[in-house]
């Protein structure tokens, strides 16, 4: 490397610790892809339910099993993370909250809100059972 060149280097992902806001930014894309696949599954379930009770039951057996429930909790967390961070993006689109400090704070708020929504949803779901 040219030692005389003091220009800033672009982040080297293996040694550069991403700021939380940047981590959340890539998470937004990752959850977007996860949710697209979850949407595919939802349509599959819906089509099965529209078909007959047996087709629906054959999928429901898996969804109500322990691995199905863990999977669904993961989908719920992805959904609410994408939702809350998406609202954060909408505020930016309106020109609000661009300051570094505000952005860092809203990142934490988005994650906290997503966790609270996930826990609340599943507390309700497990009680209705």
């Amino acid at each position: 490397m040219n030692t005389q060149n003091n220009r800033p280097l672009s982040p080297h992902l293996q040694i550069y610790r991403l700021p939380f806001a940047a981590l959340l930014s890539i998470t937004h894309r990752a959850t977007g892809v996860i949710l697209s696949m979850a949407a595919l599954l939802m349509i599959w379930i819906l089509a099965a339910a529209a078909s007959d009770a047996e087709s629906y039951a054959s999928i429901q057996v898996h969804l109500s099993s322990w691995y199905g429930q863990i999977f669904l909790i993961g989908v719920t967390l992805s959904l609410y993370t994408h939702l809350c961070n998406g609202i954060r993006h909408l505020f930016w689109d309106a020109g609000v909250g661009f300051e570094l400090e505000t952005a860092a704070k809203s990142a934490k708020m988005a994650i906290a809100a997503a966790v609270i929504l996930t826990v609340t949803t599943w507390l309700i779901a497990l009680n209705v059972g």
Binding site: A39, L40, M42, I43, L46, A50, L79, L117
Partner: protein
Amino acid sequence: MSNLRTPLSQAKGLGSAKEGTTHFLRQRLTALLMIPLILWLGFGLAAMPVDHATLIETIQHPAVTVGLIILIMATFYHAQLGLQVIIEDYVSTKSTRLVSIILITFLCLLLGVVGVVSVLKIALGV
């Protein structure tokens, strides 16, 4: 005002198609629409037993039918727009990029239509 484009770029004819913000706007509008719908879906599903009979009965409620159809259409429109951006950003080979975007678009269309038809089938009891 004089034309600042090079003769080559003029001949190629590529440039603004006057719809630069369309993609951006539709991504945001579908997002806005889905904020209440997703909360309704999440908490609604959590608060009901999910056996086949209850599910069918719930979907047959006209307000649920309408809400679900709007949610499904908004979801796959939003997914298509978002996945397209991801492909455009990470797939650099032009042909692969184009084919991926076309496939994703068709898949989203297919899933959206299957979803809407399923909801209607349940709602109409056919």
